[in-house]
Assembly symmetry: C2
Homo-oligomer: 248 residues x 2
Amino acid sequence: MSNSRPTPPEGTSSKPGHRRRGETAAPAEAVKPALPMAPPSEPPSEPLSGRAARAAERRQAIIDAALDEFIARGFTATRLDDVAKRAGVAKGTIYLHFKDKESMFEELIRTALVPLIGRLHAPPPIGGSVRDAVEGFARTFIQEVASTRRGDIVRLIVAEGPRFPAIADFYYREVVSRGLAAMRALIELGVARGEIAHKELARFPQILVAPALIAVIWQSLFARHAPLDATEMLRVHLDLIFGERRTT
Amino acid sequence: MSNSRPTPPEGTSSKPGHRRRGETAAPAEAVKPALPMAPPSEPPSEPLSGRAARAAERRQAIIDAALDEFIARGFTATRLDDVAKRAGVAKGTIYLHFKDKESMFEELIRTALVPLIGRLHAPPPIGGSVRDAVEGFARTFIQEVASTRRGDIVRLIVAEGPRFPAIADFYYREVVSRGLAAMRALIELGVARGEIAHKELARFPQILVAPALIAVIWQSLFARHAPLDATEMLRVHLDLIFGERRTT
DNA sequence: TTAATGTGACTGACTAGTCAGTCATTGTCA
DNA sequence: TGACAATGACTGACTAGTCAGTCACATTAA
C-alpha cells in the first residue's frame, strides 16, 4: 500500500497495491460454469498421437481460458499470465498461437461468433408459419446464446466495441446486418401473409430482436437481483407482434 | 516498442509496444463533442473569487474529464495522468477529491445517473392518455440520454457492471427496478383503460423499454455504419403496443 | 538425432498512488 | 489601509509495483 506510511503490519486484506492481487492462483475467480466445455487443461482421455493434434488441443485450451478471462475482466484488465495458468500452459506458448494480446482478442471474438452466423441461414418458412420460424430463432437464441457463454461475448462486444472498431465492424457486417436483413424478410413475409398486422415493423427489425438482447444483458448484470424468464418474455413479445396466443 | 527486436527506426505508427502510446498529448482522441459542457480547463470568464469556488470548479473539471476518458477507454485502460491533463490539473489534485480510481469511477457513475432518476417520478397520466405519458418518457429519453453522453454511461455500466457489483447493485436499485415499476404501473393503467390490448405485457415491462436500450447501444457501436432514427423506431414500437397511429 | 514445440525467468515500458514543498488567497493586527 | 502570517489547494517528481512481450534453454515426437 502506501509508500512509507506507518501502516499496521498487515493490511486487512484490503487492496494491497494497485489492482487487486490477492490469490492470483485462481484467475478470474470461478467465473461461471459456462457451458459444458472440455476442461481447460489436460487431454480428456483420448491418446491422440500427432504433435499437430496436441498443438491444436493446447490452442483450444488457450482459447477457452482466454475467453473466460476476457469475459470476466474485459480486455485491458485480463493478464496473459492468468490466461496461461488457466490453460495449463506457459505464457510463451500463447505467442506460438497468437501474434499479440490484441489480435488474440479479436480472433477470439470472431471465432466465437462463427457458430452464430451459421444459424442465420435458416430455411425460409415455406411450409410452416412465419411465427414458427421466428419462434425457432428465439428458441435457438435462448439455448445457444442467452444461457451460454456466448451471451457474455455479446456483452463483451458492447463493452469493448468502441475501442475495437475492427470488431464492431466485423460484428455489424457478419451478424447484425445479416440478422436484421433476415428478420426484415421474415417480417415482410409475415405482413404479406397476414400474420403480422403492424406493417411498419419491417422498417425496424431491431424491435423484434430487442428483448432478446435485453435478456442477455439482464443475465449478465441483474440475474442475481431478479431472475428473468427469457423464454416467457420472448413468448409474450411474439404474442404482441403476431397477435394473441396460438396453440403452441 | 518491443524489447531488442530489430524493428525499423519508427514503427509505422502501428502498435509501439504495450498499449498504444502515440501522441498521448491528446487523451482519448477527440472522444466526441458530448454535450455543450463547460470547457475542461480554465475558468469560463467569471471572476469567482473564493478558493472554495475554484476548488469546486476544478472538481467539476476532473469529473468531466474522467467521464470522457472512462467512456472512451473503459475503467482499466483509463490513465489518471490523462484525466489530469484533460482537466488541466495535476494528478495529485485528483486525490484531493477522490479516494482512489475505483471510488472515483463509482461516484462518477452514480452522480451521472442522479438526473435520470428524477425523471422517474413523472406525474401519472390523470388527465392525458397513457400513451401520451409513455411518449413523454420516450421523448425525454431520446433528448436526455440517447443523444447525450449519458447514453455512453449506460453502455459503460453494461461494460463494467460485472466487475463492479456495487455499481450494478446501485443501478438496479435506483434506476432499473424503479423504472420498470413505473412502466408496469403505466401498462396496467393502459390495460385497464383499454389503451393496451395485450395484457401480458405488464409481466415484462422490459419489452416496453427494450428498443430504447437498443437505440443507445446502436448509437455507440453502429451509428457510423448505419444511422438509426431512434425517434421513429420508438414511435413504431409504441404503435405496435397501443395500436395503430393516433393524431400525434 | 534434430527440428519443432514448449517453457518461464527476464526486461523495460508503463501507471496508481504518495508527499514534501510552493504560493495564491484569506485572515489578522497595527 | 497595508504588511505580515497562516492556510490549504495544488503540484509533479518519485516509489513500488504491474504486465506484455522476448528468448535462451529444455523437452519430445518423428
